[in-house]
């Protein structure tokens, strides 16, 4: 306002009063100098009408899920909500959403506020993190609704190998074969490359690769599943492999070490027939080296329908439980046992899981 007063106005106002004129002129010049030095301009009176209050929209609905190392956020706006809240925002006005997360439920620390947007779906890659989520909405980004929160914390989980392609920076491929062979009373697990037993194999991690020596692991007990890893110096054979293990370990493969056919003796079982039906079973030889109940198949020239189940303990059949007795059997039906080995087939150890070039996490 001061600059709107010029010297002519001062002279007119102070007409006949030189002291007043000099005082006002001095003030005017001083202000002019001050404005010139600071680059400021005098305030202007504002007579604009105050903006009206825009009420925030009804709360949107928030759903956050975590999987494969990412958070997936889905927001349902009031106009799209079903149930008691609908319909709201009948004009379908754009609704701005402000999403935020925190590692603590009360959002007093570590709060991340994501850019305001009218989007209703997001995917945030953030592996191995557990977060709480909340949302507030606005029509004008000035007046916001109260926060609504996703119930409970959400974990993004770890990225599975199936979710990524081969040989990405964190993915691992290998070209090893892991198998086992019978070696008397114990098994021998072999790790080798494409050239066959005794040849090295290549492990690829991201864009780098290394050649790893072949190996022979001896004196391994039968009937054990083994996960083979390379620890940088030697192979480890673990009955279970933790979800997380040292970075220097290289997953190699999974192998089932089962008894070979020479150690496996299938049971010999006879059926007892009365009136054309099989009423009991006689164990002639309980067998040996069984690691699972063998399948019993009953054949006969005339009879049909009989079933039975073998019970195995300590590697041998201890009991045969009759099922259906069947009918029309002659005096000499044949009971044939087959299988009897868990984790694979009889006739020597063999890999149950091929190491198909993916990270171990899929096993």
């Amino acid at each position: 306002m001061a600059l709107s007063v010029n010297l002519a106005q001062i002279n007119s106002a102070a007409k006949g009063n030189s002291d007043l004129r000099e005082t006002l002129t001095g003030m005017h010049l001083a202000l002019q100098s001050l404005y010139a030095q600071t680059g400021t301009t005098p305030l202007s009176k504002i007579d604009a009408v105050a903006a009206g209050f825009t009420a925030p929209p009804a709360p949107s609905q928030l759903a956050v899920t975590g999987a494969n190392g990412s958070f997936t956020v889905s927001i349902t706006t009031p106009q799209n909500a079903s149930g008691a809240k609908a319909p709201s925002n009948a004009t379908n006005a754009p609704i701005y959403q402000e999403l935020s997360s925190s590692p603590v439920a009360n959002f007093v620390s570590g709060v991340i506020t994501y850019p305001v947007s009218t989007n209703t779906s997001y995917v945030f890659p953030n592996p191995g993190v557990t977060l709480y989520w909340r949302l507030r909405s606005s029509y004008n980004q000035q007046n916001w609704s109260s926060y609504i929160a996703q119930p409970g914390a959400v974990s993004s989980g770890l990225v599975s190998s199936a979710a990524s392609g081969s040989n990405l920076s964190l993915n691992q491929s290998n070209y090893a074969t892991v198998d086992s062979v019978a070696n008397g009373s114990t098994a021998t697990v072999r790790v080798y490359g494409l050239g066959g037993v005794g040849t090295s194999w290549t492990s690829i991690l991201g864009n780098s690769s290394k050649v790893i020596a072949s190996g022979t692991i001896m004196n391994v007990a039968y009937s054990t599943n083994g996960f083979v890893v390379w620890d940088g110096q030697k192979y480890q054979l673990k009955p279970q492999l933790a979800q997380t293990f040292p970075d220097t370990w290289v997953p190699v493969g999974k192998v089932s070490v089962i008894a070979n056919s020479s150690g496996l003796v299938l049971p010999v079982i006879h059926a007892v027939v009365t009136g054309g039906a099989i009423v009991a079973y006689q164990i002639i030889n309980p067998g040996n080296g069984l690691t699972a109940a063998p399948t019993l198949t009953i054949t006969d020239s005339s009879g049909t329908g009989a079933t039975a189940t073998a019970v195995v303990a300590a590697g041998a059949v201890t009991q045969v439980t009759p099922g259906s007795a069947g009918s029309g059997y002659s005096g000499t039906p044949t009971v044939t046992a087959s299988g009897g080995v868990s984790g694979g087939v009889a006739g020597g150890g063999g890999a149950t899981g091929s190491n198909g070039g993916r990270l171990y996490a899929d096993v």
Partner: protein
């Protein structure tokens, strides 16, 4: 030809580790399991009960012979066709 390079007992894993090497630096590991995998309850590696029956020297001889037999066959092939061996 492969021959014994070095060997040691790894108490943490329960393996008698035997490393064979040939003159070109190729390696092959023989690992004799002399202990069970660490006990989930106490974390210790317990010895297997057949240690008296294990014959590491025989295992080395057996594997060595298998490896060298294949290598001899390949070298014979290379010699027959006058190939450079790398």
């Amino acid at each position: 030809m492969y021959s014994l390079h070095h060997q040691y007992l790894d108490m943490a894993s329960g393996f008698h580790v035997i490393e064979l090497r040939d003159e070109r630096g190729n390696r092959h590991l023989i690992q004799l399991a002399v202990g069970h995998d660490s006990c989930p309850a106490c974390g210790a590696v317990h010895p297997k009960d057949n240690l008296d029956n294990l014959d590491p020297a025989a295992a080395v001889a057996q594997i060595n012979e298998a490896l060298n037999t294949s290598q001899r066959q390949m070298l014979n092939y290379a010699g027959k066709h006058r190939l450079t061996v790398r």
